[in-house]
Symmetry: C8
Subunit: 180 residues, 8 copies
């Protein structure tokens, strides 16, 4: 079977783990993150960047630690837990005993860009009261983030920052629904 | 075995993200897009163009980011969300908590053409009231769009524009059913 | 694994999209086409022509865009929709909200011939009232169509025409049952 | 691996499509054909001939258009439809709306022979009233048919004729049960 | 993948199709044959002969038309049908409409031997009344049959004869239970 | 690929088919044999012998006609049927109509040894009344049998004899429970 | 498939089949052994030894007769049956008719070591009353056993001895619960 | 095909098996550990270390004895059993008879680092009362542990220590809920 394929390098999204003054703690709120939907063309283990208005590059040898969807779910959950300083943040699907009060649905529509240029995150997030299942808040988040260097590591870092900003919006949203 | 296959290039349909004055916002309407049916010979990961009246070319190394069907669903949903300025646009199948008021069924009969020539979009779309499941409006959309350049990128761009125009029709349709 | 196989060419059946004066519109009738049964030896992605009274040729490198059965279903549905000028024509199986008033069962017994010679279409079609499920009309259609040139493209074109003629019979049948 | 296998030639059983004076039309009878059982050693896509009293030849490169069982079912149904001049002949299993009045079970015990020699068809056929499910008539059919030439095409033609004769018996049987 | 394997020759068990005076017809009895159990080491598509008291030869290139079990079932059913001159003999499992009055269970314990020597058939057969499911008759059949020539064809012929004799016992058994 | 593997030789366990004076017939008792449990390391199609106190040899090219478990089940059933001179001995699982009065569970713990040395059979057998499902008799059988020659055929013969002796114990057990 | 892999040698755990004076018989107690849990890294067909505090060697060509888990279950059951001199010892899962009075759950946490050094067995065993399902006794067993020689056979022998000692503890435990 | 892959070395997490004075025994508490969730990119049989802020190395030839998730579950259960000196510690999912009073849910968010540098364990643990299913205590544990040497064995040892510390926290937590 010919020469072995070149070794892949693996990347993970990381939580921006510094609490920001912008968000007050809500340390006995319990939150469930997900289901998180990502666009079909991003939901794979290879990292995807855009090369033109309607064309993308699938990087065979630059891959996520597992799948992009899991990376996004885990990072959002970790951010919200840090921002609100509550350990009670679970990822969908959760055990009965871990049923949260509030559930955050996230649908990501765009989350790609170019290394050395920028990344756009375009997502819809919605907070639902779990026991009544009624939808309290639905918001559209769209922002473009500059990618410092022209390499995948910096690209992934930018995506982490983008999720950090989105998490702050969601955390503020949780504050507003709790306050009602 | 033998020489590796040439690298594929990957394309995505994109939303025409400029609100047009033609369509007023309906920002607390909730809409569900799908199921979207596409012709058998287009429902694959390769891009398809027509070569004669009844023959097509399946481009092995020019592929969609994932499948053509998912690309069409995601782009229609994004367009309608932008046109009506509502975040509450979900893709079929949706979670109970995201059940929309109106559901848009789309059956695409023809959606191909020739690079450097034109693309024809021939589709039936139908708006259904979700809680009563009765069908409010069924329309037939058929229009031909010129393809600027003789390459796949431009072909894909034209298909994006075609879906943009179809989305405007659907958005106007939603206005008419809401007005009843 | 040896030399790659020669590239296949792909064909699709096309609707004869000119309304004929023979058939009046029935533009708010709703029709469901299928299940459509095709003979075992034709239900494949390769195009089949007959070489003798009881022998056929299976063209490995001349193929349908997807399967012959789907091509026939989609083309019949499109023809009927154009002939009766109604968008409400669905292909079996349909969603609850798209349940038609009338359902057209089609069993194709013979639908092959020779390039440059002719093609014979031998089919049974039956119109059923969907809510009562009782059968209103059953007809046998058999007709031979000349194939202009000695190539597959012309063969496929002839098959398209044959389905066009069959569709007109079915459209007239729908008129007769509606009139009762 | 290595040289490709030689190309196969494909055969189909054909209906003897001339109404015979022997059988009167019964043109609004509805008949269901099947399940049709064929001997294990014939139920394959290769054509089988016998080489000795208890040995057979399986022709790797002479094959049925699909499987022998489907060919027999389709040809019997077509013959009966032509003989009784009724379009309402369905093959098991059928849709609810196509439920026939009479169902014909066929168990084929022997249906092989030698090219250039003869073919023996040995079968049990049984007519059952569908709504009451009780068995009206069970007959044993056994007859030997000469094979004109020493080639598979002629062998297949002989098998078609054999099924033609069996169909006439069944058609007469249907007349007798209807007359009761 | 090296040289192709040598071509296999295929064999079938055949019914001894001469009614014997020993058995009177029972021409409106309905009989179901099976389930027929065969020893694990015989239930394969290769023909098996014994080479020593406790060792067997599995003939890779001498095979049954399909599986040994199906061959035995079909041949027993055909024999009983011929002996009792009744078409109503079905093989397990049967359709509701073909439910027989009497069911014959057959468990074959030994059914092998040596070419040019002999074959021993050791089997238990049992007749059960189908509607009451109670067992009317259970017999043990064991007999050794000479194999004329030292080749597989003659070996298979001997096995056919053995099943012929067993069928006669079963036919007589059916007479005795019917007479009760 | 490469040289074919050497041809395997196949063995079967055989019933010691001489009634012994030790056991009286019980010719209308009905007995079910099984489920029979064999040790994990013996339950395979290769023949297993022991090479040391806690090591075994798995003979790749000396194999059972099918699996060791089936061979043991079939041989025990045949022995009991011969010893008690009753045809009504079925192997688990049986059809409803063949439900036996008594069911014999057998768990084999040790059943290996060395060619030219000896074989030890260590088994627990239990007789259960089928309709009440209560256990009537549980016995432990352990005995060592000399292997005449230093070859697999003789080893298999010894295993057959061992099962013969075990069958006699079980037959006597059946006498004792029937006598209660 | 270059050179064939070297032949594997296969090992089995054996019962220490000498009743010890330490344990009195309980010959009409019925005991069920299992489910037996073994650590993930041992539950395979290869034999595992430890090479450092937190590293192990998986011996590709030294394998258990089947899986380590089955070997442990069978050996524990055999030991208990010999120690208590009762045949009524079944392995989980058992047939209804073999339902035991007492069920022994065993969770093995550590069961490895070094050839020529020693093996440590660290296990939790628990006796449960089957009909009431309440837990009567839970004990922790941990002991280190010297491995005589520096080879796998001696290693396996030591593991057999370890299970022998554990079985004695369990047997004594059964005495104590029976006595209550 | 081609050269075999280099041999892998296998590692296991080990319990820090010295009771610490910090934790008092609770020797008749019954605890269930799990479900334990680990990050997607760690849940594999290869050992994972981090190479940069958001990139990891997957060590193809340094692997866990089985999967990382099972290693973590088994080690936590063993630690808690040793710390609280109770044998009654089961791993999820457990048998009915082993249902614990308290269940410990563990979600590990970060558990990687660099050889010769350090490892960070970031986890949420929660104690739930099993019969009432209500959550008694939820804590966030995050600590960084130095890795002594620049090799995988030392890295694995550090991860074992980290789990040891986490286990102590959980053990203290169990004391606090029991005390309520």
């Amino acid at each position: 079977c010919g020469a072995g394929s070149p070794p892949s390098s693996y990347y993970i999204l990381t939580s921006s783990n510094q609490q920001t003054s912008q968000v007050q703690p809500l340390n006995n709120i319990s939150v469930g993150v997900g289901p998180v939907l990502v666009p079909g063309h991003l939901d794979r283990s290879q990292i995807v960047t855009s090369t033109g208005k309607n064309s993308i590059t699938i990087h065979e040898y630059q891959r996520w630690g597992d799948s992009f969807k899991t990376q996004v779910e885990e990072t959002l959950a970790e951010n919200i837990s840090i921002l609100l300083q509550t350990p009670k943040v679970a990822i969908y699907p959760w055990e009965r005993a871990q049923r949260p009060e509030y559930q955050v649905y996230v649908t990501i529509r765009r989350f790609e860009g170019k290394t050395g240029m920028n990344v756009t995150l375009d997502a819809i997030w919605q907070i639902v009261r779990v026991d009544t299942d009624n939808s309290l808040l639905t918001r559209h988040f769209v922002e473009t983030f500059p990618v410092a260097e022209n390499n995948i590591s910096s690209y992934v870092q930018t995506q982490s920052n983008a999720l950090g900003t989105l998490s702050q919006e969601i955390a503020k949203g949780l504050h507003s629904v709790v306050a009602q």
